[in-house]
Subunit: 257 residues, 4 copies
């Protein structure tokens, strides 16, 4: 399976678990601390390249986790452990129409765009022009975006334009300020979700959701542990990320009828 | 948004967080411990119904988590906290072609089918006829399946038919026995994943993956905590699921060339 | 090592990990669902007894964890995972003088009394007579108590009598109400600790500690997972306790000088 | 409460949660990045000192956790979250006689010595002279040690001298090699414990314990999360220690009779 021009590849060196994320260009050169790697013509996923210092590099297909974690960013991003659960709780699938408030660097948007596909649609809203431009650049860089509508808009103040979606996800510092606008755009019975690092944010969001017709509200925290299986022994990694955020989800009752 | 005939709905009673998962049929009757609920004509998501004992029920759209957790089952299922991460690590998106070994009750298949959509394809393999029939019934019951190829086949013994896929997921008691067959069907550079409850299973799978050209192997455990935000106080739920399984992922190097 | 009369022993049946906690009396009879066990004369720890249904029981010495968990109780108790850390953070050792507010069933008191020993002292305060009587009975039943001063007193309203201690631990629903009284009885530079199930309780306690001269405040949550190592595989137990409470500790600055 | 000469104190600066662990000497000088602190005559716990750069430092009593974590070390140490549970599971209290194999830097020994007190006894065994000397120095530095018997001895090869103890704790890389010697020194019915970072070590130790008459074997992992309660929000700390080790405990049946 040939790598197309401008596609992202992951170069992986097994020696020290070193990996680097690059755009493919024929005869492009990648400079690493273990030498220069030349991206040959007709590169295929799984190919083995050698650096000028004779180190092996594998050409790998980046997963959705890789695309999210390795994105160029100015903001904190949503981690795969949380992003995966959000997709499931919001019921996002091929063909879904979804709304995201808080585009940020576009990490979660990458996932949304990939999953809803060409028959789906993602409306993303961001009030900071610099973030929106960064996200647009990232999305373009990933070869995605034909199903995304980017909106430079402060939803807290202006609310939403006239859209109707299967799911809404809010990732801004004060998500509760968005909640009152959500019932106008979310299909009844469907799910609104949000992520916040602090529990007080979740408490406020929950209260606002209850006031605005959301029911069956559930709140989760996910924890990810990396396990090291080696000849010298098996155990979780000693240090790592302990907390990213709390997740809140609720279904909209048809209270507008 | 009208509910279609035979579609699954979630009836949710806010009183005791009671919920029931039913097929919609016009004038269908649902019997609960708080009275009979009649599913009226032209039911819409978000609608409010009253039981014969005057209890309120909301008509909600089941999320992908709901479809997985509430499936009819004879086997253990993959939980949303794990399923979401698997999707991301395997890079499964709208249009992907994926292979699943170990259909079981079809819970994860529900997710795969929903995410890859009409342009994608899921090849699922199961050696027990009773499980395969159960899964087929569940998938049909959910209105899914046009993108699924069900295979009654013992892959451990017979290997795979001639297919080529973007991702492989193995969920059987001895996943390491499948690993040697995977390089023939998985695109190079792409990801194989598996889930096992015991660490020894992961250790064996890892060894077999290393022997068969898989690199960048990573192993995770996810933990989910439900948080209770109530007027009387905020804290994680006291009792719950502590462990489901370990996840292993690896990329295929192009060693067959 | 002979078991003394009235001492607590743990009878452990390896067959189904069944265990029962009893007082030793010569020729005493213990009735279990696998038959009657007679406690022979000159019983020694480690001895093997047979029930009338020919099942083996080992005579074991209860650990401090056992004494705490198996205590007769009308209240929630502090679990060993938390109790151990409290002892260390409060610096409680042989000879310490400590104050406990909220005697409850006496589980943590059992630990305090055992650790401070005959040269130490435990002042315990409880406002409910029924709890205090229960705790007294439990402590007597365990053969402890000569170093304990039981106080029936509502510290929230009356404050403390004239004592001076190395450490204070508060385990009541509104610990913040006790905090203003603590600087009069706690040696400067030493530690006050408290445990609460809800985070709001900790937030209020922290605020009150800051107002009353406590510094270096730290808050923890401990999680315990039981690991099953069996021939069929190794993994954490699937279900269990997910949350007990949050712990807060702070040192008293000498602000009264 | 006056600080005695040579006693350890914790100087705590609230400004950046900076703390430093020093020996008290009258007019001793402590050099920090926020200036020099002079330890005045008649220093008392809780006192406030000012550095030459006018920064406040509180004089605090180190807890047992502090003594363990801040010890001079050449080895990994046992963390308070694990140490506390070990004390409880082993039933160690004022007056206990305990045996420790693997003195290391003496961190856990500090705790054992403090808890068993002057009526108790700790036999500690270490095969490396440099570790034993380090531990002796640390214990002396802490003003402890009159109840400790230090043994330079390779128990794996030579076994134990003739002692009888209430509890045994093993903290070496191959604990299973010690297990066969334990029944000669541990009182029947009492508990042997061990800590290992890798699960394979625990599996081997468990097998050896079963062969040597240990029953009621239980294995745990403890996880500690630090919670940040601040005006800007409450959440667990984002990064930290994820894994230290697995704990195993078992009671000795009187199989030698």
């Amino acid at each position: 399976m040939k790598v197309k021009r401008n596609q992202k590849i992951l170069l992986f060196s097994p020696e020290k678990n070193f990996e680097i994320f690059v755009d493919y260009e024929e005869n492009g050169e990648v400079h690493t601390h273990v030498g220069k790697v030349v991206l040959k013509k007709n590169l295929k996923y799984g190919d083995i390249l050698k650096s000028s210092k004779n180190k092996i590099f594998y050409v790998l297909k980046p997963s959705l986790s890789d695309l999210m974690i390795k994105i160029k960013r100015k903001t904190t991003i949503i981690y795969p452990k949380d992003a995966g659960l959000i997709i499931l709780e919001l019921g996002i699938r091929s063909g879904s129409k979804v709304c995201e408030v808080g585009t940020g660097s576009g990490a979660f948007l990458t996932l949304l765009s990939s999953i809803v596909g060409s028959k789906g649609k993602v409306y993303t809203f961001e009030r900071r022009r610099d973030f929106l431009e960064l996200a647009k650049g990232n999305i373009k860089d990933y070869g995605l975006g034909s199903n995304i509508e980017f909106n430079l808009r402060d939803v807290e103040k202006e609310g939403f334009p006239k859209i109707k979606v299967d799911a809404v996800f809010v990732d801004i510092p004060e998500p509760w300020k968005i909640v009152p606008f959500v019932p106008r755009i979310l299909k009844p019975g469907h799910v609104l979700g949000s992520l916040s690092p602090n529990i007080e944010q979740i408490q406020k969001t929950k209260k606002e959701m209850e006031k605005n017709g959301f029911i069956r509200i559930r709140i989760y925290e996910t924890i990810l542990r990396e396990i090291m299986v080696r000849d010298i022994g098996t155990r979780p990694k000693e240090f790592g990320i302990v907390h990213t955020g709390y997740l809140i989800f609720g279904n909209l009752a048809n209270y507008l009828q």
